[in-house]
């Protein structure tokens, strides 16, 4: 092919390229070295009038679309000057985060209020994407002391409150009462995994189910659900910022999990959603979020039992992580929109609304003064989740603060639980990966 690229054409193209590169540099992030931190000193809402309309981005955790609509209707009746648009911004926490961060990068289309999960809010904080709400809490008289302390403290950093709890959950042990009865087992969750290991062969033989226990789907927060096993054996993903997933205790916990599948043969791994597998009768027990409770109770054709998560040989209790989502206010919107969002945030987390949300989903009520009498009369299993709250522990930093750590943990779990990979080698590799993420993506953003 013949080309006519003479000097004039070449200079023209070079000029065009330089112009395009210069124009490209005008968009996107600033490279002038500006910090991401939100200027908290300027967050003063005195004299600000709430915006007439805001968007509320949610993934409807626990199939909560109907109850969210109902709460918004009540809000419109009480605050007719503020319109809240309910926006389905994703099917899960990851999709909503994707949409939120893309809007953040595009500097347009941000919501007034956004659902943020336990692993995402810290990233929003470190990117300067959300504002601390302390000023708004004071101005709107939000009763922060009436929230469940452990849940509200999850969103505290540098003595500031960055979000409020919304669809908060813990994992629960779900079991098929009919299967347990057929196997001659007591009608309760096992106290420890060792106890369950004794029950499992009888359970599998008597129930006819494929598995006595199914591990939750690895793509669905394996780092969260396996936290229970690690703590039970005295291990962890990390202690503060030290990655400890390759410690002898952590390795022993995951070796036990691998053996339950390959050596003992009574456990399996869910492919999509363990709660659905359980409700379909494929397994006699599983662990899943409290947010799945109402769905399981509706779908299951058998008697469902729930209990605390089993302990392990080193820690027989207190081995349950908290989880779920909170609500935050973006920094990239007007003060008017932020004030309107805070007004709605206050209303959304009022005791009667958190009780209604809990009744519809199974998530825990976030307010101490929420009247749960009617809710517990209709669904007594929610009481177990509420009681377990006192035995919960804040998750390991590695899982909630390292970007992508959950995915790396899931990949390692897949290697161990579905490919029978060597546990020690896999955990050593994971440690190296997590330390790399910490050094590159987190450490530079931490204040000394």
């Amino acid at each position: 092919m013949r080309t006519n690229l003479d000097r004039r054409h070449f200079l023209g193209l070079a000029g065009l390229g330089a112009g395009a590169a210069a124009l490209a540099a005008c968009g996107g992030p600033s490279t002038a070295g500006t910090a991401d931190a939100v200027d908290t000193a300027s967050i003063d809402f005195s004299g600000v009038k709430p915006a007439a309309s805001i968007d509320f981005w949610t993934n409807h955790p626990g199939k909560s679309q109907d109850v969210e609509k109902a709460i918004i209707e009540k809000f419109h009746a009480k605050f007719p000057d503020i319109k809240v648009n309910l926006v389905t911004a994703g099917a899960n926490y990851e999709e909503i985060a994707q949409k939120f961060q893309t809007s953040q990068a595009a500097k347009t289309g941000l919501p007034g209020l956004v659902v943020l999960s336990d692993v995402w809010w810290f990233r929003y904080y470190s990117n300067g994407s959300i504002i601390p709400i302390d000023g708004l809490v004071k101005q709107l008289d939000i009763k922060i002391e009436d929230f469940q302390k452990s849940l509200v403290d999850d969103y505290k950093y540098e003595d500031k409150q960055w979000a409020l709890p919304y669809g908060r959950s813990t994992p629960l042990f779900y079991y098929n009462k009919d299967h347990f009865k057929a196997a001659g087992l007591p009608d309760r969750a096992p106290a420890t995994w060792q106890e369950f290991a004794e029950w499992a062969p009888k359970l599998k033989a008597a129930s006819g189910a494929q598995y006595a226990y199914i591990y939750p789907a690895l793509a669905g927060y394996a780092g969260w659900t396996l936290q229970n096993n690690l703590w039970g054996w005295g291990g962890s993903w990390s202690k503060d910022w030290d990655i400890t997933c390759d410690s002898p205790q952590s390795v022993a916990a995951l070796q036990w999990a691998q053996d339950s599948i390959y050596k003992d043969g009574w456990a399996g791994v869910s492919s999509k959603e363990a709660a659905d597998d359980f409700a379909a009768g494929i397994t006699s027990s599983t662990i899943s979020s409290t947010g799945s409770l109402l769905g399981v109770l509706k779908a299951a054709k058998f008697n469902v039992g729930v209990g605390f998560l089993p302990g392990g040989p080193e820690a027989p209790s207190g081995v349950c992580p908290t989880g779920g989502a909170g609500l935050g206010i973006p920094s990239g919107i007007s003060k008017e929109a932020q004030l309107a969002a805070a007004t709605f945030l206050k209303f959304m987390t009022e005791p009667e609304n958190t009780a209604a949300f809990s009744a519809a989903t199974g998530y825990m009520p976030t307010r101490l003064s929420a009247d749960m009498t009617a809710v517990l009369a209709a669904t007594p299993q929610i009481k177990t989740a509420m009681d377990q709250l006192t035995a919960t522990r804040v998750q390991d930093n590695a899982r909630v603060f390292l970007p992508g750590a959950d995915q790396e943990m899931a990949k390692s779990a897949a290697k161990i639980l579905t490919q029978q990979g060597d546990v020690q080698t896999t955990m050593t590799e994971l440690k190296k990966t997590l330390e790399g993420i910490y050094t590159k993506d987190v450490k530079p953003k931490l204040k000394a």
Partner: protein, 328 residues
């Protein structure tokens, strides 16, 4: 017999042969530069602008502008969602090529592309040969074979996930009936790749089959009949006549299926959201920026690498493979 026509083969046979018109060289040399922009030439140029400009603006805005932006972003250390970034030059490229992930991702991309392109084309050709026969029901069969291609990748992925589910999928039900345990198609990274490739080939072979069928039906019958009269059996006719004559079709399919395979996203996203074992270049770019890591600059660098690979493959195909093509 009339003399063969040299310069105008469409002229009537009884017209005497004529010499081609001679253009006076001096006239073109003497044309002033300004006249190019006057009269008819200017009008033509304006028509050209009216026709081409809207498209050029659209292509520039939605293709070249993001492409240039992406190249610029690939030189940044930028966390998605962050308002600030640091210029790091080629560091993102160096990080990718020196990481352990590079060989995994490039290997997965190569396996996925080779298997899906090869599988779609070979199976598509076999299906086209079957559909080319004159038996009852071929019209319905052609529609049925092509239908998966026009279905949404998301829908196809979800349905096949149910089929492959080791707990209650159809496949596991069949395997249990045979006394076998279902493999962990979704959780096991190696099997996940196999699963996605099977579904991808199933979805796309209809496209190859229909294009090959069109090619088969346009093959000259006289050549095939002559070969048959000379004693060539059907296998020999296929390999020595049909395949060479189908080479333009094969070449076209090779380029289009390879490009679409390298850009396959929907099935991988739906069937294996973690990308564990199925992370091709394009999916790795997505995961790095939007999956969880939020490394927008690094993701942009991977996208540029993918762009370069697509460009090189296309140029190589046009330069070397096309030489083997028989266009007539």
């Amino acid at each position: 017999m009339t003399a063969p026509l040299i310069h105008n083969s469409s002229a009537p046979a009884d017209r005497p042969a004529t010499k081609p018109p001679v253009v006076p060289a001096i006239a073109t040399k003497a044309t002033p530069e300004r006249r190019r922009w006057s009269g008819r030439g200017r009008k033509d140029f304006l028509v050209f602008l009216a026709m081409a400009l809207p498209n050029l603006v659209l292509i520039g805005t939605f293709t070249y502008w993001p492409l240039i932006n992406n190249i610029y972003y690939s030189t940044l250390d930028w966390t998605l969602g962050s308002a600030s970034a640091t210029v790091v030059g080629l560091q993102n490229y160096i990080t990718f090529f020196t990481s352990e992930d590079a060989s995994k991702v490039l290997g997965t991309t190569a396996i996925f592309t080779l298997v899906t392109v090869g599988g779609s084309m070979v199976l598509g050709l076999l299906v086209a040969l079957a559909l080319n026969s004159k038996v009852r029901g071929t019209t319905f069969a052609r529609s049925a074979v092509f239908a998966p291609y026009v279905l949404s990748g998301v829908g196809v992925g979800l349905v096949w996930l149910f089929i492959f589910d080791p707990g209650y999928g159809v496949l596991s039900w069949v395997l249990r009936g045979l006394g076998q345990q279902s493999p962990q198609w979704i959780n096991d990274p190696q099997l996940s790749l196999v699963m996605v490739m099977i579904v991808y080939v199933w979805k796309n072979l209809g496209y190859c089959a229909v294009v090959y069928l069109a090619g088969l039906q346009s093959l000259p019958r006289d050549v095939m009949e002559a070969a048959a009269l000379d004693g060539a059996n059907s296998v020999r006719r296929f390999f020595n006549i049909s395949m060479p004559l189908l080479s333009p079709t094969t070449f076209f399919l090779l380029i289009t299926t390879m490009l679409s395979s390298l850009q396959a996203f929907d099935l991988i996203r739906i069937m294996t959201p973690l990308g564990n074992g199925t992370s091709t270049l394009i999916y790795e770019a997505y995961l790095q920026a939007f999956g969880a890591y939020n490394r927008a600059g690094y993701s942009a660098a991977i996208s540029v690498i993918l762009f370069a690979i697509l460009l090189i493959i296309t140029v190589l195909q046009l330069r070397f493979v096309e030489r083997k093509v028989h266009y007539s």
